[in-house]
């Protein structure tokens, strides 16, 4: 009886490649997500597994698609700004900035200096919050709860600063076409310096607990590696590419706003594994803190001044006069009901967001409604080579790799 079974089994499994395998078994398909505790983001992985190692990986995105571009094409240019908040919920100011720089490029506007410094400061606060979330969440998903709490505490401090600056912690709606919503509040530099000192202290604790920890290193080192030529061909930017040793940073290569006057370094890694990505992110946080301090210094030296361009095409009239003067009142009605008219043309603006190059490709036909608002999402392009990074790795390596690819659903799926 037993011998019969053996024979039928051998008869069934007689293909040539079957004899090359160690075990006469099939690959397993595993569905991971769309909602999984180890992925902070709604994404589905279809994983083909040979035991513990990954043979193939298919990533399915789009669970957070809300029609950002369609929505933008039905409102005025002003009404797009709150929607850009919702792209990357960690670093909303960077998305605000990318969009507004694009519209300013179409209009040919140059913003006042004070506004530029505030924009830089806001975008660095955003970058800081994004990196803190990324590193903190990565620790949490690798089962290290303590550093996560330090990271989140530091992020709360940056969000406190964002709230004082913009009026909201996450959905900032701060940058306007040709300026910012309002000047920074009185007492902001003192609060900011105090918080920066506390963030530095927390980063020190974060570093002490995790960076040289063998458990952490074992999970991170040598996982998710892809060589830089391949990353470039896939259009990967940001900390992922810098960790592979390519010092590509839009802030340095094509300086926008006042980045050319600032003193900061670009951290790069050597190998391009997750450990390098972590180290690059931590170093970038320290650089961001340096930039914020420089911005505060420059803002204090600059003294009070306008934070908006005095261009009637985009600037709503000064409120104090709208209440009492007929002319401004009419102008206000015109500005709100029509919205800014942007000259016909196309422009591509680019900022260095926390995930990489965030581009906005805007097309206008000369009316108040955009023809096309295309957001070039760094998350989407960074996520794309992930199957290639992970082929041959273990199932558990998905988690640190996905954490440092840092796919943000809102930005990836728009």
């Amino acid at each position: 009886m037993a011998e019969d079974q053996w024979l039928t089994y051998r008869e069934r499994e007689t293909s040539d490649d079957d004899f090359d395998r160690d075990l006469h078994t099939e690959h397993q398909i595993l569905n991971m997500g769309p909602s999984h505790p180890a992925t902070h983001g709604t994404v589905k992985f279809l994983i083909e597994l040979d035991g513990e190692s990954i043979v193939d990986l298919d990533i399915q995105v789009g669970y957070l698609h809300r029609g950002f571009e369609k929505e933008c094409e039905s409102g005025s240019w002003y009404q797009c700004i709150p929607y850009t908040d919702r792209l990357n919920y960690n670093s909303a100011i960077l998305a605000n900035l990318g969009f507004c720089l694009g519209v300013e490029k179409l209009l040919g506007l140059e913003t006042p200096e004070r506004c530029q410094w505030q924009r830089v400061m806001g975008s660095e606060l955003s970058r800081l919050a994004d990196h803190l979330t990324r590193c903190g969440a990565a620790c949490l998903e690798l089962a290290a709860m303590t550093p996560f709490l330090y990271g989140i505490q530091a992020r709360e401090l940056t969000w406190d600063l964002t709230e004082a600056l913009c009026g909201a912690r996450v959905t900032t709606n701060y940058i306007r076409i040709g300026g910012v919503k309002h000047d920074m509040p009185a007492g902001f530099p003192e609060q900011c310096r105090d918080h920066i000192a506390r963030i530095r202290e927390l980063l020190k604790d974060f570093d002490a607990v995790i960076t040289a920890n063998r458990i952490f290193i074992d999970r991170m080192r040598g996982t998710g590696v892809l060589d830089k030529e391949r990353l470039i061909a896939f259009g990967v930017t940001g900390p992922l590419l810098r960790a592979a040793g390519v010092p590509l940073d839009v802030r340095k290569d094509e300086p926008y706003l006042t980045y050319a006057e600032l003193d900061f370094d670009v951290p790069v890694g050597e190998v391009g594994d997750n450990y390098d990505r972590y180290l690059v992110c931590v170093e970038e946080m320290h650089q961001s803190l340096r930039i914020i301090e420089q911005c505060l210094e420059r803002l204090e030296k600059l003294g009070p001044g306008p934070v908006n361009v005095l261009d009637p095409r985009v600037r709503w009239p000064a409120k104090g006069r709208v209440f009492n003067h007929m002319e401004e009142l009419i102008q206000q009605f015109k500005a709100v009901t029509e919205g800014p008219m942007v000259p016909a043309g196309e422009a591509y603006s680019v900022v260095e967001s926390a995930n990489g190059e965030l581009g906005f490709y805007l097309v206008s036909d000369g009316s108040a409604v955009p023809v096309k608002v295309r957001c070039r999402p760094p998350s989407l392009l960074n996520l794309q080579p992930m199957p290639e990074m992970l082929k041959g790795c273990l199932l558990a390596d998905i988690i640190p790799t996905f954490d440092f690819v840092n796919m943000i659903g809102g930005e990836c799926d728009r």
Partner: protein, 189 residues
């Protein structure tokens, strides 16, 4: 400008002790204990250093610039300051405001909103209505805890939205300081 590139420092070669996990465990304990004892001392002496707020009992004070739910400013006679011009309706990206203007004979202000509804389930607190308003009649309050048991109750009517001016002082002061700053350097714009 030459790009100054710094190479990150990897902990490649772990020493014997480090490979034993021991020093990091001790270091981790030390760091966590330091936080714990500092917070406990603060708790006993009353000079709190911990970060967590016991929410419903304790609340944090939001910044001056904080944007909460939009409300209507009420005049002393209880009537809204709003003149139902509809600019906020135009400015709103999510179309959550609906206004029906009415006529009020015999008072100083002849136009008023007969119906003023804000669908709070769609409102995203962006503040464009406040920026558009030419009468300082709709402002963002400091209230942000608006949850209801039914969806229909999220549609706030005029009576629910009216807030007397003195309760909105902090927001109005913040806005007025901004107007002054705007018009100080160049009044013409």
């Amino acid at each position: 400008m030459p790009v100054r590139v710094v190479k990150v420092k990897r902990h490649e070669n772990l020493g014997f002790l480090e490979r034993l996990y021991v020093p990091m465990i001790v270091k981790g304990f030390a760091t966590a204990s330091r936080h714990f004892f500092r917070n406990m001392r603060g708790f006993i002496t009353g000079d709190r250093t911990d970060f967590v707020v016991q929410y419903p009992e304790e609340r944090v004070d939001y910044a001056d610039a904080f944007r909460g739910m939009p409300v209507l400013v009420a005049l002393d006679n209880g009537q809204p300051k709003c003149v139902a011009c509809g600019l906020c309706e135009f400015a709103c990206p999510t179309d959550c405001i609906s206004i029906l203007p009415g006529e009020l004979a015999g008072s100083g202000i002849e136009r008023y909103p007969e119906v003023f509804d804000i669908d709070m389930s769609r409102c995203m607190f962006c503040g464009l209505c406040e920026e558009a308003c030419p009468e300082e009649a709709i402002v963002l309050s400091r209230e942000c805890e608006i949850s209801t048991y039914e969806r229909g109750a999220m549609n706030f009517h005029k009576e629910q939205l009216l807030v007397p001016e003195h309760l909105l002082k902090r927001r109005l002061d913040f806005l007025r300081a901004e107007y002054d700053r705007q018009s100080a350097p160049a009044g013409k714009s």
